[in-house]
């Protein structure tokens, strides 16, 4: 890749406000670096707030503990949802967008002023919303379904966050434009930037839906306009609520590719296929917001089936392509380093001491095996009727958004802090354990929720004892949820302490490279690099793992049809 030295936005241009990273050799735009730092710090603060709320909720749903009174349960549930699903994720994604558009394209950020406007709007909105919730003026949960009504500042805060993020997305696209105009890169966008571009495209629609639904609700809360139709509200709100989670999927997959390259040197087997999978995301993944309206009476079965199937599962195909190509590229890279014993011998040589890598692997496994399989199954219209509004639904999305996205974002942070804040991580042994603790804890949370939900335990319910119909098994799984949450929140707090401690007290790197977390070692008899790129046998371990995945999918899917059939037995 060659770089123009005369263009105004190139980081290689004379006088460019940039530095050279001592670890990667890449040029880093100083303006982008400033906003990566700001957004990453804000993201971690909101993650901490959401995590504190999580443990309070889990210890309330654990019926034997039942910590919070009813009003505080719904208050904290609202707080948890918005901080975890919106604020933490969006701030971190803006940091990812700024990094991928500048450093990887050797371009400066389009506008510092726009970045400030975006950040201040998002921060003001998030703080405003949180204050209103904690004041007890918005006990409406994250969805704030009408006719539930919150304080006007609650809606205004969300509008500010949505519009602020949209402005950051504009800054990202404008940076892509000036980078292409000034030829800071040649050919196609690098794959990781391409994944971030997919995430940014996917983000436009949910953010527009957020504005469309929140503005009339805000004016209604002020008494200026009539109440929006509650069915319309649900449909447009989920255009924000669920579509925004698809942004996470694209960003998470881009991070998988990045970490696989940083830790193992893995290169995609076929970039065109990977890009094609991102295109399928762009075109079809946002349709699946219709999952939330599967039991709504206002929309037709045709609308539900077409949209919940992501246009006949084309976006699911995309996920399965990524879920194959990421581990397959890692396997090929490992075999090229000489770790070629048997089907799974390459797994033993992986850099398990690298917390970014272990976080990415756990993220992929939890997202695919738990989140993906449950998501597609629960999104089937007929099956959804036995799962809708039960704890199975949060059991699914805690595997996708927390076990998948949050864990991948945590993994990336183990590189972001040394490379952007230029501090070496403190307590590296604890950092190595953190992804395993978090991944293990969130798996227990997901299993506890899913199995309790299978027994009929509803989501968003403060107390299940009033019904008096749940036996000891349901209580056992709610206990499992509680124990899992204790482990996961402990790991989350550990992550925050590691990040804050490193930024404040970590050894300054200056001009020296970061201390390596550990990369895959090359053996003495390794074949030449690139020699196995087209050898099908070199990915036989991934083929075996994929077969296990598909078998699990089939078993889970048909077990759910059986469970549905049991609801209406034919005598």
């Amino acid at each position: 890749m060659s770089t123009s030295h005369t263009s105004s936005c190139s980081l290689d241009a004379p006088g460019a406000e940039a530095r050279t990273c001592a670890t990667t050799g890449l040029r880093v735009c100083l303006t982008a670096q400033q906003f990566i730092k700001l957004n990453a710090v804000a993201a971690i603060v909101f993650l901490l707030l959401g995590g504190i709320a999580a443990i309070l909720l889990a210890l309330t749903r654990w019926q034997a503990v039942h910590l919070l009174p009813v009003d505080w349960f719904y208050r904290i549930l609202t707080f948890h949802g918005l901080n975890m699903l919106i604020f933490w994720i969006l701030f971190f994604e803006v940091a990812v967008l700024y990094f991928t558009a500048t450093t990887l394209l050797k371009s400066r950020l389009f506008s510092k002023g726009v970045a400030w406007v975006s950040f201040l709007m998002m921060l003001t909105g998030a703080v405003m919303t949180n204050i209103v919730i904690l004041q007890g003026k918005a006990d409406v949960m994250m969805t704030s379904y009408l006719p539930l009504l919150a304080h006007p500042l609650f809606y205004l805060g969300i509008i500010l966050v949505a519009v602020g993020t949209l402005i950051a997305v504009f800054n990202f696209f404008a940076t892509l434009y000036i980078a292409k105009r000034d030829k800071t890169y040649e050919g196609s966008l690098p794959l990781v930037t391409y994944g971030a571009m997919a995430a940014a495209v996917i983000a436009v629609i949910p953010l527009l839906h957020g504005a469309i639904v929140m503005v009339p609700t805000f004016t209604y809360s002020l008494g200026l306009t009539p109440e929006p139709d509650p069915m319309w509200y649900r449909m447009i709100w989920w255009g924000l609520g669920h579509m925004s989670q698809q942004v996470n999927v694209a960003a998470m997959v881009a991070i998988w590719y990045l970490i696989a390259y940083l830790a193992v040197g893995a290169k995609p087997l076929n970039e065109t296929v990977c890009r094609g999978a991102f295109v399928l995301y762009i075109l079809f993944i946002n349709l699946a917001a219709a999952h939330h309206l599967l039991v709504d009476p206002g929309v037709s079965p045709a609308w539900k089936i077409w949209n919940t199937s992501y246009a006949m599962y084309l976006a699911v195909l995309a996920s399965m392509i990524h879920a194959f190509t990421v581990p397959a590229s890692v396997e090929v890279a490992m075999r090229e380093k000489g770790h070629s014993r048997g089907i799974f011998g390459w797994i033993a040589g992986l850099p398990w001491r690298n917390p970014a890598f272990s976080a990415a692997v756990l993220s992929l496994l939890i997202f695919g095996f738990v989140g993906g399989i449950t998501g597609v199954t629960l999104g089937t219209q007929q099956i959804n009727i036995i799962a809708h509004n039960t704890l199975r639904i949060p059991g699914h999305f805690h595997a996708t958004v927390v076990g998948g996205t949050t864990l991948a974002f945590m993994g990336l942070t183990y590189y972001v802090i040394p490379l952007i804040f230029r501090r070496d991580f403190i307590w590296r042994g604890l950092a190595r354990a953190q992804p395993w603790l978090f991944g293990g804890g969130i798996l227990l949370v997901s299993f506890g929720m899913s199995f309790a939900g299978s027994l009929g335990v509803a989501r968003r319910v403060h107390d299940i004892e009033y019904a008096g119909v749940y036996g000891p098994a349901a209580h056992f799984f709610l206990g499992l949820l509680g124990i899992g949450a204790i482990i996961a929140v402990f790991a989350l707090l550990l992550f925050v302490v590691l990040c804050v401690g490193t930024v404040l007290f970590g050894a300054k790197l200056g001009e020296r490279p970061m201390t390596d977390w550990g990369a895959a070692e090359k053996t003495f008899d390794a074949p030449p690099a690139g020699s196995l790129a087209h050898a099908h046998w070199a990915m036989k371990g991934t083929m075996a793992l994929t077969s296990v995945f598909l078998l699990s999918f089939v078993v889970y899917y048909f077990a759910n049809w059986k469970a549905l059939a049991d609801v209406w037995p034919v005598q």
Partner: protein, 52 residues
Amino acid sequence: MNPKTEEPKEHWLKRLMDNTWLLLILGVMIPLLSYTLWGWIELLMIPPAPLP
């Protein structure tokens, strides 16, 4: 011979995949039509419930 004619023409799929702005338009229009507009029309077509 014009040197421009010697350059191999890129496959239309590759050009599509490299066209950020076209992907942006498609990525906005497809869910807007399939999810939002179609769903909105269906909600508008619900007849009002007769009052008892």
